[in-house]
C-alpha cells in the first residue's frame, strides 16, 4: 500500500469511528424521546391541567404539580439570577484580573458541576431544619442556588464578548464604570444574558433531588410558600416507582410536559443566540 493510500485509509477509519459515535449518541436520544412520546402521549388529556394529583387507584391530573413547579422555578430564577448576573458583571468588568475573581471563578465552576442532591441537603440543613418543616420557599432557594452558577458564567462570558473598544469609548466620554455597564454593556450583551436565564430555567425546571429535601410534595392544591408544595419532578419520581397504572401514566405525562417545556426554553435560547450573532454581523 502506498503512503498516500495508507493515509487515505486512516482518514476513512477515523471518519467511520466518529460517525459511528455520533449516530450512537443520536440513537440514544431518539430512543429516549420515542419512549417518552409513546408513553406520555397516551396519558395526555385536559384532566392533566385541570385536576389534582389523585390518590392511588383513581384518575386525576397534575395541576398542583405543574403550578408548584412553575412557582418554584420562577421564584428560584427571581432570587438566583440577579445574584448570578451581578457576580458575572463583577468578574467581567470590575475584578477581571483580581485574585478574588480567580477564587470566585473556581468556586463557581465547582458549584456548576456539584451534584444537585448536595445543594438539596445544604438547603435542608440551613433552612428546612431551622424552620422545622418542608416548604416551597426552601425549594425555590435550592433552585436559586442551582441557577446562580449558570447565570454567572453566561453573564461573564457574554460581557467578555462585548468589544473592549465599546467600553473604552464609553469611558472616554467620561462615563463611570457603573454607567458604562448599565447603558452600554448590558444592552450590548442583552440577548446573551437572556439566553443564560433561559438556560438556567431549563436547568432547574427538571431538578428532582434538591426538591426532595426541601419542598417535598403535596397531594393537594396549595399556594402556601411556607408549606410543602407539589412539583412535577418529585411527583414523577413518586408515581413512576408506584405499582399503580394511573400513577405511572401520570408520571409519563409529567415527564413529557417537563421535556417539552425545557425544549421550548432551549430552542428559544438558541434562536436568541442566533439573533445576537446576526446583530453582531450586521454591526460591521
Amino acid at each position: 500500500m502506498s503512503r498516500r493510500s495508507l493515509r487515505k485509509f486512516k482518514n476513512g477509519v477515523f471518519l467511520t469511528l466518529s460517525l459511528f459515535a455520533t449516530l450512537t449518541g443520536l440513537a440514544c436520544l431518539a430512543a429516549i424521546l420515542w419512549t417518552l412520546l409513546s408513553h406520555g402521549l397516551a396519558g395526555m388529556s385536559w384532566h392533566l391541567f385541570t385536576q389534582m394529583t389523585p390518590p392511588p387507584g383513581s384518575s386525576g391530573g397534575l395541576l398542583n404539580a405543574i403550578y408548584g413547579s412553575a412557582v418554584m422555578t420562577l421564584l428560584g430564577i427571581l432570587i438566583g439570577s440577579p445574584i448570578g448576573v451581578l457576580a458575572g458583571t463583577y468578574l467581567a468588568e470590575y475584578g477581571r484580573s483580581s485574585r478574588l475573581s480567580a477564587v470566585i471563578r473556581f468556586i463557581n465552576d465547582v458549584l456548576l458541576s456539584a451534584p444537585s442532591i448536595i445543594i438539596g441537603l445544604f438547603i435542608y440543613e440551613i433552612v428546612v431544619v431551622r424552620m422545622g418543616h418542608f416548604s416551597a420557599f426552601a425549594g425555590a432557594l435550592a433552585l436559586a442556588v442551582l441557577a446562580i452558577p449558570v447565570t454567572l458564567r453566561t453573564t461573564e462570558d457574554m460581557l467578555n464578548l462585548v468589544p473592549s473598544g465599546m467600553k473604552d469609548s464609553s469611558a472616554a466620554l467620561g462615563a463611570y464604570p457603573w454607567r458604562t455597564t448599565l447603558s452600554v454593556l448590558y444592552p450590548a450583551a442583552r440577548s446573551g444574558i437572556v439566553t443564560g436565564l433561559l438556560l438556567a430555567i431549563s436547568r432547574i425546571s427538571g431538578e428532582t433531588a434538591p426538591l426532595l429535601f426541601t419542598a417535598l410534595n403535596n397531594q393537594f392544591w396549595s399556594t402556601d410558600l411556607d408549606g410543602p408544595m407539589a412539583n412535577l419532578p418529585v411527583v414523577i419520581f413518586q408515581f413512576a416507582l408506584s405499582p399503580y397504572k394511573e400513577w405511572q401514566d401520570l408520571a409519563w405525562a409529567g415527564a413529557l410536559i417537563i421535556t417539552a417545556t425545557i425544549l421550548v426554553f432551549s430552542i428559544s435560547a438558541r434562536v436568541l443566540l442566533a439573533l445576537l450573532q446576526a446583530e453582531r454581523g450586521s454591526g460591521r
Binding site: 466620554l173 467620561g174 454591526g283
Partner: protein, 278 residues
C-alpha cells in the same frame, strides 16, 4: 530636551508633498504641554522623556512604526491607560495649564474635556441619536430641545448629518463602517471637548470613507486641538499642520508637516518617510 517650537521659521516655505493641509500660519496658542513624560507597561518603559507643546486649533499627527509608542502617547492624554492595571505615567502633561497626571484629577471629568475616537468604529447598542447624545446625557441638566440641537450640530460638524438625518432612530450598528466612525466622531465632539484624540481613525475604513473622515477633521481644525495617530504617511501629510515622528518610545522629531515630509532634520525621520524602514 528643549521643547520644540511649533512656529516654523518665517523664511521656510511650506509645501507638503500632497499639499492640501493649510500652511502653518494660524495656529492657536499652546494647548497641551508635555514635560519629561515617561511611560511604563509594568517594568517595560515604552515612552522615554517626551517633551513637546501642541497648539490649539491645529491638527498634530504622530507617525512611526508599530510599537513606537504613538498610541501610548495618545492614551496618556486622557489617561485611558488608567483603565488597565500595571500601567503608569511619570512627568507632566498640562492641558490648559493644569497637570492631568496629578492624582487629584477626576479622570471622568478629564475624559469629558478630552475626547477620543478609536481605530475601530464603536457605535453603542442604541440609536444614532442616543449614541451622539450619550456624553451630553452623562453630564445631565440639558433640556430635550437643546439636546436635539447639540446632536444635530455635532452630526453636521462630523459631516454625517445629511446621511443620517432620516434615520436618527436607527440602531447605530446598522450604518456602514465609515458612517459609524463619523457618528463616533460626532459623539466625541458633541460634548465640545477641548482636545480631540484620534487613534488611527481610518485604519478600518475604505478609501472613500477615509476621505470623508479626513474632510471632517479639516473642518474641525477651526475649533479644536486635534491629535491624530496614523500609520498612513500620506494621511498625516494631507491633514496635519504639525507632524511628530516617534521611534522606539522616543519623540525623534516634531515640526510643521511640510518640513517633516520634505526636509526632515533627523536622519531616522528621513529614512522612515522615504520607506527605508518601518
Amino acid at each position: 530636551m528643549i521643547p520644540h517650537s511649533l512656529k516654523p521659521p518665517k523664511h521656510l516655505k511650506m509645501r507638503a508633498p500632497t499639499a492640501s493641509a493649510e500652511p502653518v500660519t494660524d495656529l492657536g496658542p499652546p494647548k497641551i504641554e508635555i514635560r519629561a513624560l515617561n511611560f511604563f507597561y509594568g517594568a517595560v518603559q515604552s515612552l522615554h522623556d517626551i517633551n513637546m507643546t501642541l497648539a490649539d486649533r491645529s491638527i498634530t499627527a504622530f507617525i512611526g512604526p508599530s510599537g513606537c509608542g504613538k498610541s501610548t502617547l495618545l492614551r496618556v492624554m486622557n489617561r485611558m491607560y488608567a483603565l488597565y492595571p500595571n500601567q503608569r505615567a511619570e512627568g507632566e502633561v498640562l492641558i490648559g495649564g493644569a497637570d492631568i497626571l496629578a492624582p487629584t484629577v477626576d479622570v471622568a471629568e478629564l475624559r469629558y474635556r478630552v475626547g477620543m475616537v478609536f481605530q475601530k468604529p464603536t457605535p453603542f447598542p442604541m440609536s444614532v441619536f442616543d449614541n451622539v447624545a450619550f456624553g451630553l446625557r452623562l453630564a445631565g441638566g440639558i433640556r430635550l430641545a437643546d439636546l436635539k440641537l447639540r446632536v444635530e450640530s455635532a452630526l453636521r460638524d462630523a459631516a454625517i448629518w445629511d446621511e443620517v438625518k432620516d434615520k436618527l432612530q436607527a440602531d447605530g450598528r446598522s450604518l456602514s463602517g465609515g458612517q459609524q466612525q463619523r457618528v463616533c466622531i460626532a459623539r466625541a465632539i458633541a460634548v465640545q471637548p477641548e482636545v480631540l484624540l484620534l487613534d488611527e481613525p481610518t485604519a478600518a475604513l475604505d478609501p472613500i470613507s477615509t476621505l470623508r473622515v479626513e474632510e471632517t477633521l479639516q473642518a474641525l481644525r477651526e475649533k479644536y486641538c486635534i491629535v491624530v495617530v496614523t500609520h498612513n504617511l500620506q494621511q498625516a501629510a494631507r491633514v496635519s499642520n504639525v507632524t511628530g515622528f516617534m521611534y522606539m518610545g522616543e519623540l525623534v522629531e516634531i515640526g510643521p508637516s511640510g518640513q517633516i515630509f520634505t526636509s526632515p532634520q533627523q536622519r531616522r525621520t528621513d529614512d522612515y518617510i522615504t520607506g527605508r524602514f518601518g
